[in-house]
C-alpha cells in the first residue's frame, strides 16, 4: 500500500534520540491538514475511531487517557507518550497513523488520503514500481 509506504518512510528507522519528536511532528502536520480539509469535528471523529483501534492493537500500552481532552493541541498525546519508552512511543504514533489513515481512506478514498499525506509531509508521490523507494 502506498499509504503505508509513506508512513514507514516518515517514521520508521529514525535515530532513537529524535524518533519520537519526528513522529509527533508527522502527526501534527497530518492533523493540521486533516482539520483544514474536514474541520475539527471531522478530525475528532476519525481520531476517536483510530484511537479505539490502536488501544485494541496495543493493549500493553496505557492509552486509556487519550481522547478525552482537546485534540487541537498535542499536550494529551505528549503526556501519554512521556510515560512510554521512545521506542514504544514511536510504535504508538506509527500504529495511530496507520489506523487514522486507514479510517480516512475508507471515508474519503485512498487517493485523496495519499494526497493529504503528500501535502502534509511535503512528499513526492510514491512510485510503487520504483524499488529505490521501497523500504521493505
Amino acid at each position: 500500500m502506498l499509504r503505508e509506504e509513506l508512513i514507514k518512510r516518515q517514521v520508521y528507522g529514525l535515530p532513537s534520540d529524535r524518533a519520537l519528536d519526528k513522529a509527533i511532528d508527522c502527526w501534527q502536520r497530518l492533523m493540521d491538514e486533516t482539520i483544514s480539509l474536514l474541520g475539527q469535528l471531522g478530525f475528532d471523529s476519525i481520531y476517536q475511531k483510530s484511537l479505539s483501534l490502536t488501544r485494541h492493537q496495543l493493549p500493553r500500552m496505557a492509552l486509556e487517557q487519550l481522547g478525552n481532552a482537546d485534540t487541537s493541541t498535542l499536550s494529551e498525546l505528549r503526556a501519554a507518550l512521556a510515560q512510554q519508552t521512545s521506542a514504544d512511543g514511536c510504535e504508538v504514533i506509527q500504529t495511530l497513523l496507520l489506523n487514522f489513515t486507514a479510517v480516512l481512506a475508507i471515508l474519503i478514498g485512498e487517493s485523496l488520503t495519499e494526497r493529504l499525506l503528500n501535502v502534509a509531509w511535503g512528499e513526492q508521490p510514491v512510485d510503487s514500481n520504483n524499488p529505490e523507494q521501497s523500504h521493505d
Partner: protein, 500 residues
C-alpha cells in the same frame, strides 16, 4: 480619456452552463447558487470549482454547516471531474462550523478574510449561506444584520479580487425572506420536479449582472461526469428554409431548388426529382410498411453522394438497428452517427443537444428520426404532453442548421378516416409520404403516395411497392382502382373507346 471597465468572463467548463451565463461567471462578482435539497447545488459548485481552479487561480471552499466535509468529499469524488491532485494545491477547504455554531459571525468573517489573504484564491465558495442566515436568525440578530454580513462579505471578497459563489437551500428565488438575492450580482437556481414518476431537473440563470444571460428554464442531467446542461432550443425566424408556399405557382423557382435523392429513382420521380434540400419529410405508415427501410436508403444515398448522416433511433433496440444490413456498415465506417435511447425521461433539449452535436461532428447533411412515436415515448411526460410544441422546436432547430430531415411515424391503418400524423404534426413537415396496406385479390399489398411537397410540384398517384432485404421496390401505378385509401380498392376497367 476614460476607459470603461471590462468585465472578464470566467468559463466554468460545465457543459452548457457558460452559454446560459452569457460567456461565464463575471470576474469578482458575488453569486448565489440556489435550489432545494437534492437539486445538485453542491455537485455543480464542485464541478465549477474543479473546472476553474489551477495553481495560479486557486479556489477556496468554505463549509458552514452544510454537508459535512467527509461526506461531501466522499460523494463528490464519485464524479470524474474530481481530481484529488488538486486538493490543497489548487483547491483548499476551510471548515467554519465551530465558529458559526458559537454564533461568532465577526470571527467567521475575519477567519475567511485571513484565509483568503493567505491563499489568494480567485474563486471562493461558501456552503451553505442559508445555514449561516438561519443561525444568525436563531441568534436573535435581525435580518438587517445578516444582510449586512452578506454585503460585508461580498465587498471584502470583491476587494480581495475573488469571485464568490454562495450556495443556499432555497426552493424559490421569489421567496420574500430571501432578500440576499437582491444583494447578489448573479443568481443560478436549480430545480427538480416529479411528474408522473419521472424526474426532470432544470436550471435557470435568474440574473447575471453585466452579462446577457439566456433566459428561461433549461434541462440538465447529473451523470458520472457531473452536470450536463441542455440549453433550451429557441425558434428564431422562418423555420422553413425552402421556398415559401406562394412560390408554388412559379415553375421557374423550382428549377433552382437543390434536391436530394432518396436512393430510389422512382420515389425521386414521385417527388419531382428528389426531396428539396433543407426540407423535413414525414413518412407515415402502419407497422411493417417499410418506413425504416426508406429512411435507411435515404441515409445510404447520402453517403454515396458524399453526405454524412445521423439517425436517432427511438423505436428499435440497438441490437435490432445494428442488424440493419444497409445501416450497419455505414455506422461502422463513421459516415452515419447514431443517437440511440430507450430512456423514458429525456427532454427535447437533451435529444436536440445530442443530435446537433453529432451533426456538427460529422458535418452531416441528412438526419433521420425513427420514429416520432418512439421519440414521444422517450420524452419525460412533462415534454411528451406537449409533443407538438417539442417537435416544432426540434424541426425548427435542425432545419436552421441546413440539414434535411426524414421523420418516420407509426400510423395505424384506419380506413374510415384519412390521417397523416398521430400527433397533428403533419403541418410542420414540408413533405409527406403516406404508406398503407390495401387488400387486392385477397392479398395485402403495400401502396405509397406523396401527399405534399411544400412549394414544389409532385406526383399525386398511388403506387404499389414492395420491400425486401435490399430495400424498397416500386411497382405499378394503381390507375385502374378506386377507393384505394379506403383499404378495399375496386377495380375500374378503363373505359373502351368505341371502335369505328
Amino acid at each position: 480619456m476614460t476607459e470603461k471597465v471590462s468585465i472578464r468572463s470566467l468559463r466554468t467548463g460545465v457543459p452548457g452552463l457558460d452559454q446560459l451565463l452569457g460567456g461565464g461567471i463575471p470576474e469578482f462578482s458575488l453569486n448565489i447558487l440556489s435550489g432545494a435539497p437534492g437539486s445538485g447545488k453542491t455537485t455543480l459548485a464542485h464541478q465549477i470549482m474543479f473546472g476553474m481552479a489551477t495553481p495560479e487561480n486557486k479556489a477556496l471552499y468554505i463549509s458552514i454547516l452544510g454537508e459535512p466535509p467527509v461526506k461531501m468529499l466522499r460523494y463528490q469524488q464519485q464524479f470524474t471531474f474530481f481530481d484529488p491532485n488538486k486538493i490543497q494545491e489548487s483547491i483548499h477547504y476551510l471548515n467554519l462550523s465551530e465558529l458559526i455554531l458559537a454564533s461568532d459571525f465577526d470571527g467567521a468573517l475575519s477567519r475567511i478574510t485571513e484565509e483568503v489573504n493567505r491563499i489568494s484564491p480567485a474563486l471562493v465558495l461558501v456552503d451553505s449561506i442559508r445555514a449561516l442566515l438561519g443561525l444568525a436568525e436563531r441568534a436573535h440578530q435581525d435580518e438587517a444584520d445578516t444582510i449586512e454580513f452578506i454585503q460585508r462579505l461580498g465587498i471584502q471578497l470583491s476587494s480581495l479580487q475573488t469571485t464568490t459563489l454562495l450556495i443556499g437551500e432555497y426552493r424559490s428565488t421569489d421567496d420574500d425572506s430571501t432578500s440576499i438575492f437582491t444583494v447578489a450580482d448573479g443568481v443560478i437556481h436549480l430545480t427538480q420536479s416529479l411528474h408522473r414518476n419521472s424526474v426532470v431537473r432544470k436550471v435557470q440563470v435568474v440574473k447575471m449582472r453585466g452579462h446577457a444571460q439566456v433566459p428561461g428554464l433549461h434541462t440538465f442531467r447529473i451523470q458520472n461526469s457531473g452536470l450536463e446542461i441542455f440549453p433550451r432550443a429557441i425558434v428564431l425566424g422562418n423555420i422553413w428554409p425552402g421556398p415559401p408556399p406562394e412560390a408554388n405557382a412559379n415553375a421557374n423557382a423550382n428549377a433552382n431548388i437543390v434536391r436530394l435523392s432518396l436512393g430510389k429513382s422512382g420515389i425521386d420521380d414521385m417527388l419531382a426529382g428528389g426531396l428539396p434540400a433543407g426540407y423535413s419529410l414525414l413518412v407515415v405508415g402502419p407497422s411493417g410498411s417499410g418506413k425504416t427501410i426508406l429512411a435507411t436508403e435515404f441515409l445510404a444515398e447520402g453517403v454515396r453522394s458524399g453526405e454524412n448522416g445521423v439517425i436517432a433511433i427511438f423505436e428499435k433496440s440497438p441490437h435490432q438497428s445494428r442488424g440493419n444490413q444497409i445501416l450497419t456498415p455505414l455506422i461502422e465506417s463513421g459516415h452515419i452517427g447514431t443517437i440511440e435511447s430507450r430512456a423514458l425521461d429525456l427532454s427535447l433539449d437533451e435529444v436536440l443537444h445530442d443530435l446537433t452535436g453529432t451533426i456538427k461532428r460529422l458535418g452531416a447533411k441528412r438526419v433521420v428520426i425513427d420514429s416520432l412515436s418512439g421519440f414521444e415515448l422517450s420524452l419525460a411526460p412533462e415534454f411528451s404532453e406537449d409533443f407538438r410544441s417539442s417537435l416544432y422546436r426540434m424541426v425548427a432547430q435542425l432545419t436552421a442548421m441546413g440539414v434535411t430531415i426524414l421523420m418516420t411515424s407509426e400510423l395505424e391503418d384506419r380506413y374510415t378516416d384519412l390521417r397523416f400524423s398521430p400527433f397533428g404534426s403533419a403541418f410542420m413537415a414540408d413533405a409527406i409520404i403516406v404508406q398503407r396496406y390495401v387488400e387486392i385479390s385477397s392479398e395485402f399489398k403495400r401502396v405509397m403516395s406523396v401527399i405534399k411537397v411544400r412549394g414544389s410540384p409532385h406526383e399525386k398517384s398511388i403506387r404499389l411497392y414492395d420491400i425486401d432485404h435490399t430495400g424498397v421496390h416500386l411497382g405499378q401505378l394503381l390507375t385502374d382502382y378506386q377507393g384505394i385509401m379506403g383499404g378495399r380498392p375496386e377495380w375500374q376497367p378503363p373505359s373502351r373507346t368505341p371502335s369505328s
